[in-house]
Symmetry: C2
Amino acid sequence: MNKHLNRNILRMSTMYVPTLKEDPSDADIPSAKLLTRAGMIRKEAAGLYSFLPLGLRVLRKIENIVREEMDSHGGEELLMPFVQSADLWRQSGRWGAYGEEMMTMRDRHDNEFCLGPTAEEVITDLVKNELRSYKDLPKNLYHIQLKFRDERRPRFGLLRSREFIMKDAYSFDKDQEGLEVNYQLMRDAYSRMCERMGMEYRIVQADPGEIGGNGTEEFMTLAETGEAELVYCDCGYAADVEVGECHPNPVGYVGDTMEKIATPGLHTIEELADFLGIEADGTVKAFSGKDKEGAIWVLFVPGNYEVNEDKAAHVVRGFEPLTDEEMKDAGLVKGSMGPVGLPEGVRICADDSLRDVERWIVGANEEGYHLLGAKQGEDFTVDAWGDLCTVVAGDACPCCGKPLQAARGIEVGQIFKLGTKYSEAMGALFMDEDGTEKPFIMGCYGVGVSRCMAAAVEQSHDDMGIIWPVGIAPAHVAVIPLSTKPDEVTEAAEDVAAKLAAAGLEVCIDDRDERAGVKFADNDLIGWPAQVVIGKRGLAAGTVEVKNRKTGEKTDVAVDDVVSFVESLL
Amino acid sequence: MNKHLNRNILRMSTMYVPTLKEDPSDADIPSAKLLTRAGMIRKEAAGLYSFLPLGLRVLRKIENIVREEMDSHGGEELLMPFVQSADLWRQSGRWGAYGEEMMTMRDRHDNEFCLGPTAEEVITDLVKNELRSYKDLPKNLYHIQLKFRDERRPRFGLLRSREFIMKDAYSFDKDQEGLEVNYQLMRDAYSRMCERMGMEYRIVQADPGEIGGNGTEEFMTLAETGEAELVYCDCGYAADVEVGECHPNPVGYVGDTMEKIATPGLHTIEELADFLGIEADGTVKAFSGKDKEGAIWVLFVPGNYEVNEDKAAHVVRGFEPLTDEEMKDAGLVKGSMGPVGLPEGVRICADDSLRDVERWIVGANEEGYHLLGAKQGEDFTVDAWGDLCTVVAGDACPCCGKPLQAARGIEVGQIFKLGTKYSEAMGALFMDEDGTEKPFIMGCYGVGVSRCMAAAVEQSHDDMGIIWPVGIAPAHVAVIPLSTKPDEVTEAAEDVAAKLAAAGLEVCIDDRDERAGVKFADNDLIGWPAQVVIGKRGLAAGTVEVKNRKTGEKTDVAVDDVVSFVESLL
């Protein structure tokens, strides 16, 4: 029998799968450690990774899921270049504005280019002379292409690499209704992708950031190691804490006058509330920063909440916290800031929830003193109001009122209603039915393809290694003969592998000349959903052992029933 | 009937296929013109192209052919980054040495990188700590990845673009015999790829250039527009004229003495031979240049051959022709150079074929004069000998002696025996069976994937448009209803398309609201191998017209026989 006959069977003996016993010293999260140890990726330089054969199989499966769902939800695939001309970015006004994350270069004729971090400019330029009429719309074009973002501190393996693979789609519509349709199609496609990749995920309200537009949601894989904090509710509501609505219910001071009291050594809200014998929500917390022009602001929120810097930046443009040095220079007293008696020129911004709170318990702008009952409109006035608090678990869901739950997540996709930001800037117009020229209404939709691979591992692994979801596993099942030299065990293994492959399953046979312990460790590490272990003793009784990698459950199965058992397990 | 039910049928009405009536002004060869006009590619900037949906289909087919042949000839696919660290190129000594074609850049921390023009360094570094034993060998790893070469003058569309897609494979062996096996496997794989892409090709001996190594062949698609000149013989021999062996048979001067004769106004070999009443092979042609150190050389070849500058550079290191200015400065007389009486310090190099020719007919280094019978060893001596002539059609085949034929070709692939150049420089060693550490014996094997797309068009097109080979056509057959509004014709077209698709063919239906003339022109331009034209009149008689795009032959076929007829046509 020529054991290499069946090309649908992977062979550990000949594949390039360099597994490692030890965690690489520079891997900082489970996915980076496990994907490296399982011989699936290798770090080439900071933020640059190679995908080895098994890792590439996973990557291609993710790509194909993304491609199929895009195609079945109205997308058309094309491929735009990775290297992009600076001229296009100048047209949109983002050259330079994009910041240091953009990797730029000059060619031999001194023309400027960048490595595409995204492709709004290229696609808008591509279609602008070719989609001319409302009859050519709607259109949804996507590509799966390398991207590059020169992260200040590349880390977290494939989650924050510099060169990565992204699927980015761009929709063009003649009106807002069309955009809503395309947006919903992509929302459905993304949900389906996440499901097919076996991910537990939430669709969360998010911040559009520098891309712009008027509505965006992120697809978050839930994982303890996720960079993003989010809140969600069983009713379907979910939001990144950067944007999640927050409606605190602060308690005001009940007295009629403002009183200054000595609070020696008390610097935190908790210490202050304890001292006063009240809850934190009876106090008001202060946080200092500066705006884009350098003006100093003090922000006030209910004592039981934290100021959210991302939200603050929407109210006070370009908001950045002050350093201790800057606070001192501005004449602010750390641990005792309040709205009354601030240095000349310092502005006051407060959370919306404090609008109806007449009298506040706040710092006195004097070391060791606080004010009880500082009165709005009398003792001080607020210059700007806004939603400033970070939402937390237990807050009421803004949709249904039930208590929110908190989780950490990894962003694997984001969808945006861009509107006309790019089409207007770049003069991408179409002739509408009424005979007038209008800019395209655009949407854009990204999936971090290589990121999904790491996110899946972050969500699904244990101490032994990776536990691949069936939809993106490098193969469905491993066949592990506990014998190294040709004998009845290796023969039975070849036979079982062939039958599994014939049933349409992807099989890897561990035909290496290695001890059982090494084989078990490597196969657990690699994380095929199922393992079929074949030993002499079982074989004598006509059985093999099938292991469910996820549950760890092992079952003795008659050789003839292996295929159907593995199929039901998957 | 939901006409969008069958996803295997492409629809011209909704696909993004922006065909053009006119040639783009900056397209310089047929493939650039036709691929652009057929809505398959778009130029984004000099040497940067987008692949639109139909073009991407062709590209993916080529990729898949390449992938399948690599996998079935011992290759394993992985994916290395496009952005490469300068450090690796410093280890091999090619940083800087690679020249201006390399696109370099610095990241935000001022580390140097390049866009990979090739990946010898990256792969050698990748495997060097992981293939440790002779037992891990042989290994043949490949990837299909973007490449970038900053061409001085990007042109010829996809044939000489700057960003392009290449399959590059690298083999690692423990000895030369292993390399020979891998090289032959790749040679077979490449032949099979070319055949499956429907190409007429030759495997030619070639120049290794800066990659190095000790043996290389190119796979050349024959096309009139090809950049390369090659000679070939029916016996299988073929060579790029840059390296093709050349064995001229020059005729010497038969007299006994050297004689200086007046040749007023005669500057070419043809004029001189005419004047003397002899054939050109009785004269000796001179060609001036300088070497790497700037020393002046005059090269001599038989009068009926041309000096080949690439070959000359192998004999006279760094050989470059002199400009008219430089000739004058060196005291050389254009149109009358000869080996006797050259200015002090000018060196003489001659073609091997002149070794046994005692007396030459050459220039006298004096305007309007030539020498008859200048004698080697007496009147002049030759400083260096070598193979200097460009082989031409009619020369004897070095293998079988039959007359060679000439052709032009487009290089679509090249295979190299690298040896230990990179493994030695980068310390990539393995432990051999005898217990000693040895550098890997490497081979490398490249295919220009995007280039193949253009090469196929260069080889196969006519005045109407592209004629795709079946193996890489964007779809096999177009169904063209000569009706725009729903009627029995459009219904029959949907029916025929569904049947063709059900038979496993890839179908595109031209369901656009366009005149017959527009449809015919666009479908000829796009170049599907077959077209099924459905009109009212034919349908009344129960027939449709099937057109063979290549031959132009049109056949009326009974509706029920369409599938089998199209299948046999393909």
